[in-house]
Structure formats: structure tokens, C-alpha cells
């Protein structure tokens, strides 16, 4: 026994040590984040009183939604003052049913988003404790209850069940951003558990008798808190069709689905039985199928004729529809000789590779990469027909259940229709252990700041060309650069910069991808993905992400960027291949920093070999030297940007302190003048003759009351100033600094100097990030 105990304890102790993050420094400058909205949704055509919680959301100005059909105004107390963190949300009767994004506009800019659901069922918010059978909260059929679980707690609900009347209980949580991993239990009138779901939050039950039934909700590991919220829908459902579910957010992988122009509903459906070759469903190509996976041994087999020389592209969507599936396709050529069949594998198509490897947690290190899964277990690939004949395609779900809990899929087999889809997310840079706070980022720019984004693409049907990215509808003073995913590549960078003098502004921007495909310019919107929650410590909680509804961008001068690094006269630079380019840098310092210098490293692989810049703190200028002979960068247009890690002596909220100081000064003035007034009135009253005495006394009392009220207000202002002053104390904040992007145009070397420029680049060894054509690019100057 002791042999088993020792390592366990060793590991356990290690875990305990790790479980207490040793955060000596704050990581990342404060970013506003909307944490919870309670209730988490509402019914069409109603007005809902909501309460928000937030992080760094001081001085909230507005609560905004991703649809104009939902609006909010601050709730006011009886005396007309705004009640902190409370809003009246008005949901228009024609608002789209589904999940929308809510966010705050604060003095630091726009916050990270939180879901807000809109549905057609009446909704309530649980308002009292319901953690026992006796205190169960009564649910009405066909309604939604908004609530959150507590730690180590079980929430109880009751409802009246009718014999033979099917009910569906649907607890929506993780797919509306909640941290809750819901366990949903349906129990009889005595509280004895009848059925349980711990994986998808839904229970489908037909009572065997009339009576009271209970629903119990808790987290899988009994975690809880306001961030463990859920929307519990109880529906009476007719028929035996699939249980209705509430709307959910989309996974990041869903950005690549559907292909452009796909019919919402497939024209053909799978016909079972088709598990055996002899039952293969006969199809003709091209085709667009809807089908479903059943049990683990369910294989859907299709048979078709194909001719030599044809190339067919196969795409399957299932995981990207939000299901937990892993489709796999096998195509075989069938040669029949009487009863005998010979099968030859032609193609095996499996997962869609991730354009960027998703990060993982590594002990004693930071999260290793993006927290976004842009690849998918779905299928996208081709097969080339080498010979005329009969072919068989079999489709399986590699992660099927052994019991039938069917999952839908869509199968497309088409001739090449080259295309692409793009998604972007705020880039994360490894800082050090426990830096997970960096990866939930709204696009809330401080003036003078540049923010870096990673943009990845899924390319369809052989499209290999350059993808140009554009950002539109940016707020005034905000620009975007670095907008290319090079030909043959799946990843690019995007840099968004708020000018130093940019005034506070907010807009819903758009990112688009454009590419020339077969001579046509094709444009697709680029989706934005975000991490759901700030994560303090990954071993306890890993970053989870989703697609957000749109691209909100704000700029603030409430705080400015601690430092800005830009090319001096940044209008683009030009260099001949093989030549040398010196780019002067201008550095604007607005904050104090720890240490003596900041090391700036170049982004990406094109200029990855550019020497790191050691930038002394407070140096006003610096220089980048590009030795194109050493870099061997082929001609083309490129974006160069740097990033580095710095410890900023951050003085947060100075403007709020100043405002409070001004307020205090004003209040002090008022107190003094009211004191004088009160004193005067008192003296007047004392001296007043008997007939006017009463009136004078009244006036004196009124003046004294006013003075007293002003003193109370003054005390409040002073108290607030103290709080703000304390909060605004200088803190060391570790953050990463991004330079403004610098446009560099590499030209083919002039004829006389061809020798160094013509250094041959072996096929397949061209540096990544090569411009589309590889030939002369347009000059920047």
C-alpha cells in the first residue's frame, strides 16, 4: 500500500503547489470583460431587467448587443440616478431567435462578449434558494428558467407531469458560454432519480403517471458560482421526433461551413439500410446528401460510377454542425467477377488539418499556442479516378456510440469549386507561467496601440492563391495592416493600430477575405473567434473559445499605449532583392518600465531571421536592418512587425482619479459656500424680530440641511476618491508590445546586379510568406 501512496502524494502535493498561482505580477493591461448577464436571455417582445458583472468595466457607458433588435438603457433609481450594473433590455418582437452577443462599452472601450439568448418561450429568473427537495422551484411547462448553480450545490425544480405526455428538459450551459458542465436528473415525486444526463444537458421523458416530478441540476464536479449559469427549458412535446434544443453558439471550426451557395437543405437523403455493400445506396455524382450516423457499427455505403480522369472533392460536415462526431470516408474501386468482388482502396479521407496547431497546457509553462481549433474531425479531400468503373464510398463516424444516439451529417461530392474561408483571433504570445489572462481579448484599443491577430484559412478544392484581407468600417483613427495570407499558406497576420491621437470611438467593423479564383474576385467575410473567459490558471480551467457574432472595435484615450513603436515616416519601404534596407524606428514612451531594455522580435517566417532589436528603455529612435541577401526574400510585398515583452509600471485609471479629484474640489466648494450660507441664515434668524422669526428660523434650518447634505455628498466623493486612488496605485504589469506594421516591398534586383538577387531558391524551400506571384510587386513609394 505504501508504495502506491508515496507517488500519489508526491503528485498531489505538486498539484497543490501548482494550484496556487504565484502571481507576483499582473499579466496584461486591464481589458474590459463582460462576465455575466443575468438573466441570460429573454422572450421576444419583452423588456427584461438584467444585472451584469464585469472585469475592468468601470465607468460603463452602454450595454450593447450584436443585433439592433435588442437595446438596453441603464436602470434608474427613484431619484433618477443610474443603478450600477443594471439595465432594462428591450427585445423587439421581430428580434432574431437565437444566441446574440452582449458587451459593455466602458471607459477602456468595448468589452469581451457574453451570450444573450432570445427565444419564444416565457422566461423567469430563479430568485430564491432551491437547493433541497423542499425548496424546489416550480417550473411551468413550456418556459425557460435562468439560474446559476452554487459550489457543492444541487438545484431542485419541480413540475407537474402528466401520464403519457412527453416532456423535454433542456439545460443550456456550456454552449452559451457558461462554465457549468451540467448534470440533469429527473426524479420521481420522492426525489428518487429516474434518468440522468451528464453529457448533453437534455432529458426526454414520458411520465408513467400523473404527479410531481423533480429536476435536479448540478455541475459534473460540483463547481459553481455566478459563472456557472444555465437556461433550463421545460417543454411539452408532441410526437416522437428529435428533442427540441435551445440555440447555441458556434464552434470555431464551424467558420469553414457551409461552402458558398450551398442549399440550406440537402436535396437527397440517405436511405437505410445501407450498411452492407449489397445494400449500397446508388448515387450519381455530383451529389449533396443529408444522412445520420447511428450506432458504432453503422456504416453508410454509397455506390457510383466514375470515369477515368475525373477528380471529385468530398466534403462531410458533422462536427462543424455542432455534433461530437468524427466522420471518415473510404473510397474503393469495385471490380466484379461474377459473385466475386475485388476491392481496391482509392482514397481514405479523414480529419481536416488545423491550419495552426492548437495550444496545449504544459506544466510549468504557458499555454503553447492559439486556443482555437480551426481544423475539424470532418472531412475535406479529393479522389482522382484512375480507371472507369464502379466505386463505393463508405462513411463512418469514428467516435460513434454503441447505442443509437444518431448524429446528422451532410455529404457533398463535387467537381472542384475552389474557394476559401477565413477566421481571425487575437494573437497570444507566450509570456511566462500563468499568463492565461492574455488570451481573452476584446478589440479595445488604447490610442497608440497595435494589436496583432492571427488569421487562418481553410482552402477548398485546390485553391492555393493569395488571400487579401481587408478591414472595413473601422472607427476613425484606426487602421489595419499586414493583410495577406500568402499563396500556398494557411496562416497570416493582421495588425490593427489606433493612432496616437485617435479620439474615443466605437464601431462594428468587418474583416473580409478577397481572392482571385479562376479570374473572378471572390469575397468572404472573415469570422472572429474569442476565448470565453479570462483564465487564471490553466490546469484548473482550460481556455475555451467560440466564434463571436461580429467584430466590435473601440478606441479609447482614457488610457494610452505605454509605448508605441513605428517606422519613422511609415509609408512603406522598398528594397531590391539582395540589397540592404535600414528602417528608422520612432519610439514614443508614455509610461515607466522596469528593466533597461525591451527585446523586439520579428513576427512570422518571412522576416523571422531578422535580428532581434534590443531597444533601450526611453530610447527615442532605433533602426531595423534588413539584409535581403541573407534573408533571401523573393520579390513581393510584405509586412514587417515586431513584438516584445515588457514590464510596465502601470498607473491605471488616472483619468478617473482626476475626475474624482475635480468632483471632490467642486463638492468642497459647495460645502464651503453652503456653510457660509447656513451661518448667515443662522445669524439672521438669531437677529430676526419676533414677527419674522419663524420664517427666518425655517430658512436657517433649510440652509443648515443643505449644508449637511453637501457634507454627506462630500464624504461620499472623498471615499470614492480614496478607493480610486488606491486602485490607481502603480502596479507592475507584464504585457507584450506590438509595433505598428511596416510595409516592405522587395523588388527584383536590377539587371546589373542580378547575381546576388538571382540566388536560386530550391523548389520547396521558398521561405513561407512568399507573395502571391513571386514576381515584381507594386512599389510602395
Amino acid at each position: 500500500m505504501s508504495r502506491g501512496t508515496t507517488p500519489f502524494f508526491a503528485v498531489y502535493l505538486t498539484s497543490l503547489c501548482l494550484a496556487t498561482p504565484c502571481l507576483a505580477q499582473q499579466v496584461c493591461l486591464p481589458a474590459p470583460r463582460l462576465l455575466t448577464v443575468t438573466p441570460m436571455g429573454g422572450q421576444l417582445g419583452t423588456t427584461v431587467d438584467v444585472t451584469v458583472t464585469h472585469q475592468n468595466g468601470d465607468s460603463i457607458r452602454e450595454l450593447l448587443f450584436s443585433t439592433p433588435k435588442i437595446s438596453a438603457k441603464p436602470m434608474q433609481s427613484a431619484d433618477g440616478k443610474a443603478v450600477p450594473n443594471k439595465f432594462q433590455v428591450i427585445i423587439a418582437p421581430d428580434a432574431p431567435v437565437g444566441v446574440h452577443d452582449a458587451r459593455l462599452l466602458t471607459s477602456l472601450g468595448v468589452s469581451a462578449a457574453r451570450t444573450f439568448s432570445v427565444g419564444s418561450l416565457p422566461e423567469v429568473t430563479r430568485t430564491k434558494e432551491n437547493q433541497s427537495l423542499e425548496t424546489a422551484w416550480a417550473l411551468h411547462a413550456n418556459s425557460i428558467c435562468n439560474a446559476a448553480t452554487g459550489k457543492r450545490a444541487i438545484d431542485y425544480y419541480s413540475f407537474k407531469g402528466t401520464k403519457g405526455r412527453r416532456v423535454v428538459v433542456d439545460c443550456n450551459a456550456a454552449r452559451i458560454d457558461s462554465k457549468l458542465s451540467p448534470v440533469v436528473i429527473l426524479a420521481d415525486s420522492k426525489g428518487n432519480d429516474l434518468i440522468v444526463n451528464r453529457t448533453s444537458g437534455v432529458l426526454d421523458y414520458t411520465p408513467e403517471s400523473d404527479g410531481t416530478y423533480f429536476i435536479k441540476i448540478h455541475d459534473l464536479t460540483f463547481q459553481g458560482g455566478t459563472e456557472h449559469f444555465y437556461r433550463l427549458a421545460l417543454r411539452e412535446v408532441d410526437g416522437s421526433g428529435p428533442a427540441p434544443r435551445q440555440e447555441t453558439t458556434a464552434r470555431v471550426s464551424a467558420f469553414s461551413w457551409p461552402p458558398d451557395g450551398l442549399a440550406p437543405v440537402a436535396p437527397v437523403s440517405e436511405v437505410e439500410p445501407n450498411n452492407q455493400p449489397s445494400q449500397a445506396q446508388k448515387i450519381t455524382l455530383p451529389c449533396d446528401f443529408a444522412g445520420s450516423f447511428a450506432t458504432a457499427d453503422d456504416t453508410d455505403i454509397f455506390e457510383f460510377q466514375a470515369a477515368k480522369g475525373e477528380v471529385w472533392w468530398v466534403e462531410v460536415a458533422s462536427e462543424r454542425l455542432g455534433l461530437n462526431t468524427d466522420p471518415a470516408v473510404l473510397i474503393q474501386r469495385v471490380v466484379k467477377d461474377g459473385e466475386k468482388e475485388t476491392l481496391t482502396d482509392v482514397a481514405e479521407l479523414d480529419d481536416m488539418a488545423a491550419p495552426m496547431k492548437m495550444g496545449t497546457y504544459q506544466p510549468a509553462a504557458s499555454y503553447s499556442g492559439p486556443a482555437y481549433q480551426a481544423g475539424s474531425p470532418d472531412v475535406l479531400g479529393k479522389f482522382e479516378v484512375k480507371e472507369d468503373g464502379l466505386y463505393r464510398l463508405q462513411l463512418r463516424n469514428l467516435t460513434s456510440d454503441t447505442r443509437n444516439r444518431g448524429s446528422a451529417y451532410r455529404l457533398l461530392i463535387r467537381k472542384a469549386q475552389p474557394d476559401f474561408a477565413v477566421v481571425a483571433w487575437a494573437a497570444h504570445q507566450r509570456l511566462r507561467q500563468n499568463d492565461f489572462g492574455t488570451i481573452s481579448k476584446p478589440i479595445a484599443l488604447r490610442s497608440g496601440t497595435t494589436m496583432a491577430f492571427e488569421v487562418v484559412t481553410v482552402r477548398r478544392d485546390g485553391f492555393d492563391g493569395e488571400i487579401n484581407l481587408g478591414m472595413e468600417d473601422l472607427p476613425p483613427g484606426v487602421t489595419a495592416g499586414g493583410l495577406t495570407i500568402p499563396a500556398g499558406k494557411v496562416q497570416g497576420m493582421l495588425f490593427v493600430t489606433a493612432a496616437e491621437g485617435a479620439a474615443p470611438a466605437f464601431s462594428i467593423a468587418r474583416i473580409v477575405g478577397r481572392a482571385s479564383i479562376n479570374g473572378n474576385m471572390v469575397t468572404h467575410p472573415c469570422r472572429l473567434a474569442s476565448v470565453l473567459w479570462p483564465v487564471d490558471y490553466a490546469p484548473v480551467e482550460l481556455p475555451k473559445s467560440r466564434l463571436v457574432a461580429d467584430v466590435p472595435v473601440s478606441v479609447t484615450d482614457f488610457e494610452k499605449a505605454p509605448v508605441s513603436v513605428a517606422a519613422d515616416g511609415n509609408a512603406g519601404f522598398q528594397v531590391n532583392a539582395g540589397g540592404t534596407l535600414k528602417i528608422p524606428l520612432r519610439i514614443t514612451w508614455r509610461s515607466e518600465f522596469n528593466g533597461t531594455s525591451i527585446k523586439l522580435k520579428p513576427y512570422g517566417s518571412v522576416f523571422g531571421a531578422v535580428k532581434e532589436i534590443d531597444l533601450p528603455i526611453k530610447a527615442a529612435t532605433s533602426e531595423v536592418v534588413l539584409d535581403m541577401a541573407a534573408l533571401k526574400t523573393p520579390p513581393g510585398d510584405y509586412t514587417l512587425a515586431f513584438s516584445g515583452i515588457a514590464v510596465i509600471k502601470h498607473r491605471p485609471n488616472q483619468n478617473a482619479v482626476k475626475a474624482a479629484e475635480a468632483e471632490q474640489q467642486k463638492a468642497g466648494g459647495e460645502v464651503a459656500s453652503l456653510a457660509a450660507e447656513a451661518k448667515g441664515q443662522a445669524e439672521k434668524a438669531a437677529a430676526a424680530p419676533a414677527e419674522g422669526k419663524e420664517e427666518a428660523m425655517k430658512a436657517a434650518k433649510a440652509a443648515a440641511d443643505k449644508h449637511k447634505a453637501a457634507e454627506v455628498a462630500m464624504a461620499e466623493v472623498t471615499k470614492r476618491l480614496k478607493t480610486l486612488t488606491d486602485a490607481a496605485a502603480t502596479k507592475d504589469v507584464l504585457d507584450f508590445i506590438v509595433s505598428e506594421p511596416i510595409q516592405v516591398s522587395v523588388k527584383a534586383a536590377p539587371a546589373a546586379q542580378t547575381a546576388p538577387a538571382q540566388t536560386p531558391v530550391a523548389p520547396g524551400t521558398a521561405p513561407s510568406g512568399t507573395a502571391a506571384s513571386g514576381t515584381a510587386a507594386q512599389p510602395q513609394k
Binding site: F8, V11, T199, S400, D401, T402
Partner: protein, 771 residues
Amino acid sequence: MKRFEKTKSKTPTSGGRAWTGKLSEAFGGLNLGGWMRRAVWIFAAGWLGLAGDSQGAGAAAPLNFVNDIEPVLTKASCNSGGCHAKAGIGQRGFRLSVLGFEPLEDYEHIVKEGKGRRVFSAAPEQSLLLLKAANIVPHGGGKRIEPGSEEFQTVVRWISEGMVYERESDPKLVSVEVEPARISLKARSTQQLRVHARYSDGSVRDVSRTALYEANDKSMAEASEEGLVTLQDLPGNVAVMVRYSGLVSVSSITIPLGAPVEKLPASKNFIDEHVFANLKRIGIPPSEVCDDATFLRRVSLDVAGRLPTEDEAKAFLGNQDPGKRDAVIEALLRSSGYADFFAGKWAMLLHNKRDLASDTVSNFAFHSWIRDNLLENTPYDVLVRELLASTGEIGTNPAVAWFKRVKEPQQQVEDVAQLFLGVRMQCAQCHHHPFERWSQRDYYSLGAFFSQVGRKPSSTPEEEVIFHKRGIAQAENKKTKQQVRPAGLGAKPLEIAPDEDPRLRLADWMRDKTNPFFAKALVNRYWKHFFRRGLVDPEDDIRDTNPPTNPELLDALASKFVESGYDLKGLIRTITQSTAYQLSSAPNAHNGIDQQNFSRYYPRRLPAEVLLDAIDGLTGMPTNFPDLPPGTRATSLPDNSYNRTTALLKVFGRPEGLSVCECERVDSASLAQSLHLLNSADIKGKLAGANGRAERLVKSGGTEADKIRSLYFTAFSRPPSTEESKQAEEYLARPLTDTKGEPVDPLKAKRISLEDLIWALMNAKEFLYNH
């Protein structure tokens, strides 16, 4: 047999002494001393006896290694695991296969290895093999073969004949038969076994001397090296395994008690028919059917792992409905307590253990998956199929957790065999199973079902996505280096298409009605849960050489289980409804000695979790488990991590989920357990806890008798007897004084006395045991 015994009685004869002298000469005048006397009689007896017994094998026929030498080495334990068959290395450079299952290899090692130094044809007696075996040259293993013995001479002759391995024409061993194969014998009697080996040419040899003998229950019978079985006092069935040259046979011996079985309780179902038929056959009268209180307590503990509440016990005793016992069983099976209790049992066997904090989600999910399936009464075959063929990741299909814990193919084979088939395959990984027919081929064929388990990273750290990797299912036989196809135990190899998940075919084979292991293993496991002892015991060691004590009952249980559609609740219902289960644990005049025929209920200590819950209930002070809702019962705990936070669980042997064997759960008593109940801070805290039962009783109304009654119902599910009540009342009424001799405040004194009374009840065997 008689002749053999007669021969034995001749041991100290002068003839023997004469032989000693001659042999002494033969060994160059060595002083052979006293040990030689035994060698001589063995030699003489064997020579004479075997010559007469060989029927057709031909005494003069040349010896071969396989038929004649390997059995000698095995009998002498040369090729036991501790000696020259030590895994991989043998002993001091000389390696033999375990129990001679690889005769060709052994032959090579003896005859050819080391330039043939182990054998010496010119003077066979001087062969190193013999000099060592007889300890003539110092031998670490001591003397294994007597010089001059028949075995000695057999080896000498074989060497002198040219050391033949096996001629093509030589007869092959076909079967081994023991006589008597089945017999009924009185306790304390003896029986000589005779073993015959049948060969392919029809010849039969008496190999009684070289066969090995082992009883499956040494408390019932002992078998000597010569095959003489001596029975002990216990009545029942015992099996003596006989092993010869890679084959086994069994002599089943029934030891009747022979007491009159005149009156049997009424049979409720087929279980009773089989149990009572057996009792009648061996003459053990069963105890009476237990009283209602005992039944309620017993069945609540066994089905739901908890004591009946005071109210439940009172209501049950007051209920006059003749069907009330069945009704209680139904209610218990419907309760989540049943699912919690049995999920705890299965979760440990399926290794749901926490090594890292990051295991938490997986462990909760997997435990719950088992529990929810039991609650819904998922058919056992479906449950196992879902487990063994699970795919996906923990968040959506918690069953894949098993593949996280049981990662290596060899552990998968061994766990599946032991847990779901009741067969221990561990030995067969490296060598032929010594007591069974399982070879390495069987081992790797079973492993081939898991050869296509694909793994890829999931979004959760430390967790993987499990999927079926397309390809031909096969596994390499580590011995032959050949690829073997998947095959169920004793079944033909399967041709499985590359697209088909072989694990599904394994599950199909398991649940097939004709599968000889799957249903039997489960019903035997559950039988043990309710009766303390399996029909085959240990419950996961089902083999021909360890036969069931009531084979007809085991067969009937298994076939009914299959017929029911593998209905687990149905099986429990059948078992608990039977009169056999409901017999009193109090022995009658005859059956106190019975330990395997289920003539009475065998009491056993409460499992750790059940005991903790029972103590919590009695003291009114629930244990607070980290991060779980208040009121969580110990029987609902998802994994082993709580053994570290709650001392009682560890002290009373709650398993850690390390082993697939139920034996990991310690059910024996220990001093630590007694001390824990008597004077641990934990128990003291529960007894004296604020708002605990003692305090509540002090504050409550009612008479002292009511309070005592309440405590007895809570602890024992019965009212106190008049005497017990009187004693307790006297105890509660006695005045207390403090250390200075001053009278203690009456309320405080009452509370102290109540705590003492609860403490005493808790330490009573009636409380600690299910009886």
C-alpha cells in the same frame, strides 16, 4: 492403489538396505546416508509398480524427452517459476520453460546448450543434470531427485539411449484422467488418486507418481506429492487438480456432513431448489429463515449499501403484508442507493482512481456513467459492449475513461478476461497457463481485439479521443513472433474486415448465448456479493481445475441471466428473493461448520463506505467530503481520492482502484480498525458533535425507553429486547461525577451517557456486521 500403499509400507525393509549398499557402490562409495532409504523404496516401488501398470506403452520402448523426461523435471519442480523457469533468465544460466510447456526449448537447453555440458552419454549417471538434481554436486535448489530413484534411472536410461527428443512414431499424450474423478468421502478420510495418461496409439500409462496434485481449498483437503488426499473436517465440495505433462484433470470430492435433513424451508425459486438439493445430498440441514428485521437490514445493506432508516425499519416490522419482502427488494432496486453502491464497486474494478487533480473530471464522469447505467438498468451485455467498444472523448462518452486507465494491450486482455470472463490470463502472456488450457496464442488472440484502438489528442489535457483505427486486427504472439487474428477464448479466429471495429466483435462474442464465460462470471461475481463466497471462489478464477461448489446452480443462474436479457436488477431480485439468501446466519446443531454450501447466511463486516455511512447515520453527523455537496454518502464517492481525506475509509480497506480483483478490498479485521472505532478523534467528534444524535436526543421529548428504542432501530433495525432496554435505561439513569467527585449537570450527564450508549452500539458486532 492398495498395492501402492503396500509398497509404501515396505519402506524400512532390509531389501531397501541392500539396494542402498549397491547404489552406494555405484556412486563411488559416497556416503548416501539416511536419505537414501527413501530413494530406494521409491525406486523399487516405481520400478515394480510402473512396469506392471504400463498397458501397451511398452516398458522396453526407448524413452523420449517429451513423454518421459519432462514429467520428471516437472515433478521435481526444476521448471517451477522460482527455479529454472524464472521469467526470462532461468537460474544460474540454466533455463527451462515454466512447467515444461515448451519441451523443445528445454530439450535444446539440456542437450545442446553449453556444448552439451549438462549431459554425458558415456557415463549418464555423471551427467551434470543428474549430479545437480540429486545434489551430489552442490545445488542451490537442494536435492530434487533421489539418486537411484526411478526418476533418476529414467533420466539415466534416456541419456544412455541417445537422448531422443521425440520420434515421429512415438505416441503422443492425448489426455490425462484421474481416478476417482468424482467421489463422496467422509471427513477426515484419505483417498489415493491414480492418474492415467492416454496416448495417441491407444496405450495408457499410470503416471500417478510423476503427476502433480493440488487441492483448490486447502482447508478442506490436502494432497500429498504421491497423490494421497487427506480430507479435513469441513463438509462440501473440494477439487484436487492433477497436472501431468501440460494437461490437467480434476478429482471432485464431496464431503458429506451426513446429518439428517428432514425439513427444508419453502423454496422460492430455482436457486433454492439447487441449494437445498446440494444440502440434502451432503447432509447439511439449513438454518431457519431469518426474521424480518434481519432481512430488512441485510437486504438494504447488500442492495443499496445502507442501513434502513428508523422509520423504514418500524414500518417494515409493522407491515403484515406477506409480500413485503419482495416489495422492499423492488424499492431498493429502484432507489439511487442501489446504483450508487454498485457503481462504487464497479468503478474500483475499472480503475477509476485519481492520480492527478486533472483526473477529477474524468473520474466523476466515468463513475457517473456506470451509476446512471445501473440506475436505468442497462442490460449488462450492452453496458460491457459500450465500455469495451467505446469511442470519443470523456466529455461526450465517459466510457472511454477505461482506455485511459487500462492503456496497454496486455492489461486490456488481462482485465477483460478476469473481470468479464472470470478467467485469469496473466500467466499466458509468457507461457502456457499452468492450470488451464490457455496458451500464449489464446492470450494474444484476445489482445488482437484491441489492436485497432486509435488515440488522438483531445481538447482536454491528459485525455485522448479513442477511435477505431482502420486496419486488420491482429497481434503479435511474442513467443512465435507470428501475427494472430482476434479470437474469443476457446473460439475460432475471426476474419474481421479492416473497417469493422474488432471490439464490437469481441462484445458480440461475449454476449452470445453460447459463451461459456461471460454470464457465468457475472452471476458468480454477484453471488459472491450477496453470499460472501462465490460458487466458484475466487470469483474471477473460473477454470476446470477450480470447479463450482454447486455447478448446477451456477449453470442455472447463468442461463437465466442470459434469458433475462442480461438484466442485472433481475438477477439481484432473483438472488435476494430466494429463501437461500434469506436464511438466518445463526447456525443450527449441524451447519456451523459449513463454509461453502450456503446452509446459512455467512456474516461479514460492513464494507468501509457502508460502515462510514452507517456510523454517520447512527451518530447523526454526516462526513463532509471535500468539494462534494453536504450529505453526500460515502457509497456515492466517485474515486479513491477520498481514502486520503477520510481515515476510516482507508483503515477499513476501501480499495484504491489499482486492481481488477475484488480482493483489493480488505474485508478482514485489524487492530487499527478496532482502535479507530474505540478512540479515534474522528469517531469521538461524531459522537459528541453539535446537533449530533446524542444532543438531539437529550433535547427531544419522550421517555428514555423511547430514545433507546430509537437507537436500536437505527443501529440494528429492531427494537431492543426487554433486557437490553432495562440495561440501557439503568445506564442512562446513573448519576455521573466529575474528576473531583462533584455531580455532573444532569443534562450534560445524560448527553455523555447517550454518547456512550451510541458508542457501545457502534462497536457491537451486530452493528459492524451484515448478518
